[in-house]
C-alpha cells in the first residue's frame, strides 16, 4: 500500500511539472499536419522542423500517410469538428478558400505585411493563399506541370531535333519515333495523369486567356467552342502514340520508360525530375526537359500550408514563426532542392538549382509578366473538389473510349458547370 501511494504521488508531481513546464515557458508551438511521408518529401519536412526548432520553437509532427492527402483530409475534418485543429495543415488551391469560408483559418496579414509578401509572391499565388484580401496560408513551392521529359537518344535515333514547340510538330516527331519501333509517349492511364496531358494541350491550343475562361470561369461558350474541340481531337491523337498497356500505370513507371529508352517522351510535372536524379541522370544531358508547346504558357501547381485558428499564445506565436520561416530565403532554397520544385517567392539564390529548375524559374518570370501563368486543374489549383472531379471524369472517359469530340465538349460543359452548383 505504501509503495502504491508513493508512486501515485510521484506521478502527480510529474504531471504537475509537465503541465507547469508548458504553461510557464510560452515556447512557440506548432502542430503540423502533412502528408509528405516519402523519401525526398520527408527530408524536406525535416528541414523545416530543424529550422523551426533552431528558432526556438516546439514542433509537433503529425504526418498522415497515404492517398495523396485523402487520409489527411479525413483527419483534418474530424479535428476541426472537434474544435482542436492543428496549427498548420498542408492543403492546396481552392480548398484553402473553402476552409476559409467555414471561418476556420487564421489571419496572417501582420506577418505578411512585415515580411512584404505582396512583393515576393506571384499574383496568381497570392490569389490562392489569400481570402478576402487576408493571408490565410503560405505557399511552400511551385511545381511546373506542363513539362516534357524526353530521352535524347531516342529522339536522335528518330531524327527529331529536340522537343518540338508546336503540337503539330509534337505529333510529327511522335510519328518518327513510332517508325523506329519505340513508344512515342510514355503515359500512365490514371485520371490525374490523363488530365495533366489534356490541360497542357488546352493551354497549347487555346492560350492562357482561353484556358482561364474555359476551365477557370467555366464559360459555357468557351467550353463548347471549336478550340476546345480541337484540344479534344489532339488529345485523341496523343492517345494513338501511347502503348496499349497504359491504363493504370503509375507515373514513375512511365518516367522509367523514358529513362531506359523504351519511350521517347513523357508529359509530366517536374516531380518526374526526382526519378531521373535518383537514377543518377543529369538534366539537359541524359534527359531533356522542355515545356509542352504553348506561347510562353506555364501551368502551375503549388503546395501550401493553411493556418488554422488555434487557441493559446504559444500556438499563435508558433504559427506566425512558422509562416515567416516557410517563406524565408533559406528554407525556400533547401526545401525546394529536396523536393525538385522551385521557390514560391522571388529573390532566392539560384546557384544550387539544376538546369531544369532554373529554366522553370525563368519561364515563370516570363509567364507571370506576360499573363500566361495559369493554375492546374488536374492538380487542384484552378479548381478543386467536385469541379475538378468532373473535369477528370470527362477527360479520362474521353481518353479511354471512342466518345465523339462534339459529345465530349457538351459533357465537359454540362458536368463541370453542374458540379459548380
Amino acid at each position: 500500500m505504501q509503495s502504491v501511494r508513493k508512486s501515485v504521488l510521484s506521478l502527480v508531481v510529474l504531471a504537475g511539472s509537465l503541465a507547469g513546464g508548458q504553461s510557464f515557458a510560452q515556447q512557440p508551438t506548432v502542430e503540423v499536419l502533412h502528408y509528405w511521408t516519402s523519401g525526398g518529401e520527408s527530408k524536406a519536412v525535416a528541414e523545416l522542423k530543424a529550422e523551426f526548432e533552431a528558432a526556438g520553437g516546439k514542433w509537433i509532427d503529425s504526418p498522415v500517410a497515404g492517398g495523396g492527402g485523402d487520409a489527411q483530409a479525413t483527419v483534418l475534418r474530424s479535428r476541426v469538428l472537434a474544435g482542436d485543429p492543428p496549427a498548420a495543415v498542408q492543403i492546396k488551391g481552392p480548398n484553402i478558400s473553402d476552409w476559409a469560408k467555414e471561418g476556420a483559418l487564421a489571419d496572417l496579414s501582420s506577418v505578411g505585411a512585415a515580411e512584404g509578401w505582396d512583393k515576393l509572391l506571384p499574383p496568381l499565388l497570392q490569389g490562392i493563399v489569400k481570402f478576402d484580401g487576408k493571408y490565410v496560408a503560405v505557399p511552400v513551392n511551385i511545381h511546373r506541370v506542363d513539362w516534357v521529359w524526353a530521352n535524347p537518344e531516342v529522339l536522335k535515333a528518330a531524327g527529331v531535333d529536340g522537343v518540338p514547340t508546336t503540337w503539330e510538330g509534337m505529333f510529327e516527331a511522335a510519328e518518327k519515333i513510332k517508325a523506329t519501333g519505340k513508344i512515342p509517349f510514355a503515359h500512365g492511364g490514371q485520371p490525374w495523369q490523363d488530365a495533366t496531358v489534356f490541360e497542357a494541350i488546352v493551354l497549347g491550343v487555346g492560350g492562357a486567356e482561353f484556358y482561364n475562361k474555359a476551365l477557370g470561369e467555366l464559360d459555357e461558350k468557351a467550353l463548347t467552342s471549336d478550340t476546345m474541340k480541337k484540344a479534344f481531337a489532339y488529345f485523341r491523337k496523343f492517345r494513338s502514340y501511347v502503348d496499349p498497356a497504359f491504363p493504370g500505370r503509375d507515373w514513375n513507371l512511365a518516367t522509367a520508360m523514358v529513362m531506359n529508352g523504351q519511350a521517347g517522351m513523357q508529359i509530366m510535372g517536374d516531380w518526374a525530375k526526382g526519378e531521373f536524379a535518383a537514377a543518377g541522370k543529369v538534366g539537359d544531358k541524359d534527359y531533356i526537359c522542355a515545356p509542352t508547346p504553348s506561347k510562353t504558357g506555364y501551368i502551375l501547381n503549388s503546395d501550401s500550408f493553411a493556418m488554422f485558428k488555434v487557441k493559446g499564445p504559444d500556438q499563435v506565436a508558433g504559427q506566425a514563426l512558422l509562416a515567416k520561416l516557410i517563406l524565408g530565403e533559406k528554407f525556400q532554397e533547401t526545401f525546394n532542392l529536396y523536393k525538385g520544385s522551385i521557390p514560391a517567392r522571388i529573390g532566392v539564390k539560384r546557384d544550387k538549382f539544376d538546369f531544369c529548375a532554373l529554366k522553370s524559374m525563368d519561364d515563370l518570370k516570363t509567364a507571370s509578366a506576360a499573363g500566361t501563368l495559369v493554375g492546374s486543374v488536374a492538380h487542384e489549383i484552378l479548381q478543386a473538389g467536385a469541379v475538378r472531379g468532373a473535369f477528370l471524369d470527362v477527360v479520362t472517359e474521353f481518353f479511354n473510349s471512342d466518345m465523339p469530340v462534339d459529345e465530349a465538349v457538351e459533357t465537359l460543359a454540362e458536368e463541370m458547370i453542374a458540379a459548380k452548383g
Binding site: D70, V80, P244, A245, G385, D393, T396, E397
Partner: protein, 305 residues
C-alpha cells in the same frame, strides 16, 4: 435461481454474488452492445440524415430533401458503378458458388492428402483483397503477365488484355474475387457434405443410384441452408468490395471498373460531397437489406417451426 438450487451456505457478500451470477452475461455484453448501438446503428442513422442535407466539405444539418440522391443518380459515374455492381455481383456469386461446390464434391471422394488440398484452396481467403488485387494486376497486365508469357512461348497472336479494355475490365474483378472466395465456399460446402447422414447415402447406393445422381438428388439438396449462408456472405462481400478495385484496376480504364463503394469514397473524401457520398452509402445499405431481410425472415420463421 441457480444459487437457490445449489443451496450453498449463506456467506458474507452472497447477495452481490447472487446479483452477479444473475446479471453476469448481461454485464459482459453491455459495453459491446452499447458500442455497436452507437457506432453501427447510430452512425447508420446519422448517414441517412446526412444524405438528405446539403453537406459538402463539413457536415451541415440543414435538410435539402432528395437533392443528393438526384445528384447521385444523375452522375454518369454512379450509373457505371451500379451496372458494374450488378454484373460483378451476379457473376462473382454464381461462379464462386458453382466452383466452390464442384471442388467440395471432388474433395469429398475420400481422396489422399485431402487436408493439404483443402488448405491450398482455402488459403486465398486468408489473403487481403489488396494482395489479391496487386497480384492479379501483375498477372493480367498485358505487358508483363499472362499475355507476355504466352507470346514469349511462341503464341504471338495470344491476347488477354481485359484489364486495359474498358468493356472487359469489370470481368477481371470477377476473376480475382472468384479466385479468392471459391475456396471458402468449398470449405463450407465440404463441411456440410460431411454432415449428411451416411445411412441415406448407403440406402441410395443399395437402390443402385449412381454417384452423380446421389449428389444431385440427395446430398446437395439436403445442405440447402449452407448455400443460403454462402450466398449471403458472398453477396455482402460483393456489395462492399472496394479494396479489390483500388488494387486491381484503380477503377480504370477511366472509371469503368468502379463499384458503388468506390463512388462513395470518391464523393465523400476526395470531392467534398458528403451528402452525395452518404446517399450512395444509404443506397448500398438498401441493397444489402433488400436481400438480407428476406433471408433473416425465412430463417427466423424456420426456427419458430
Amino acid at each position: 435461481m441457480t444459487t437457490v438450487a445449489r443451496g450453498g451456505a449463506p456467506a458474507a457478500g452472497s447477495e452481490w454474488r447472487l446479483f452477479l451470477q444473475e446479471r453476469i452475461s448481461a454485464l459482459v455484453v453491455a459495453p459491446s452492445f452499447a458500442l455497436i448501438l452507437l457506432f453501427v446503428y447510430g452512425f447508420i442513422l446519422w448517414t441517412i440524415y446526412m444524405s438528405f442535407t446539403g453537406s459538402t466539405l463539413l457536415p451541415s444539418y440543414e435538410l435539402v430533401g432528395i437533392e443528393p440522391y438526384k445528384a447521385m443518380v444523375g452522375s454518369s459515374r454512379f450509373s457505371v458503378a451500379f451496372t458494374n455492381l450488378m454484373v460483378f455481383g451476379a457473376l462473382f456469386i454464381l461462379i464462386a458458388m458453382a466452383l466452390g461446390s464442384a471442388l467440395a464434391v471432388l474433395l469429398d471422394q475420400r481422396i489422399r492428402i485431402e487436408g493439404a488440398l483443402r488448405t491450398i484452396y482455402l488459403y486465398p481467403m486468408a489473403i487481403s483483397f489488396i494482395v489479391t488485387g496487386v497480384a492479379w494486376k501483375w498477372i493480367l497486365n498485358p505487358g508483363i503477365g499472362i499475355q507476355k508469357f504466352m507470346q514469349d512461348l511462341g503464341f504471338a497472336g495470344f491476347e488477354f488484355d481485359w484489364i486495359v479494355d474498358r468493356d472487359m475490365a469489370v470481368y477481371t474483378l470477377v476473376i480475382a474475387a472468384v479466385w479468392q472466395a471459391s475456396g471458402f465456399v468449398m470449405a463450407m460446402v465440404l463441411a456440410a457434405l460431411r454432415g449428411v447422414d451416411q445411412e441415406i447415402v448407403k440406402a441410395a447406393q443399395l437402390d443402385g443410384a449412381s454417384l452423380p445422381r446421389i449428389y444431385a438428388s440427395i446430398m446437395l439438396p439436403s445442405i440447402r441452408p449452407v448455400f443460403v449462408s454462402a450466398f449471403v456472405i458472398l453477396m455482402h462481400l460483393a456489395v462492399k468490395s472496394f479494396d479489390l478495385v483500388v488494387a486491381l484496376t484503380g477503377g480504370g480504364p477511366g472509371f469503368q471498373s468502379t463499384l458503388p463503394a468506390n463512388f462513395m469514397y470518391e464523393m465523400t473524401f476526395r470531392r467534398n460531397q458528403i451528402a452525395v457520398g452518404s446517399a450512395s452509402a444509404v443506397f448500398m445499405l438498401a441493397i444489402v437489406l433488400a436481400i438480407i431481410v428476406p433471408y433473416l425472415y425465412s430463417e427466423l420463421r424456420q426456427q419458430k417451426r
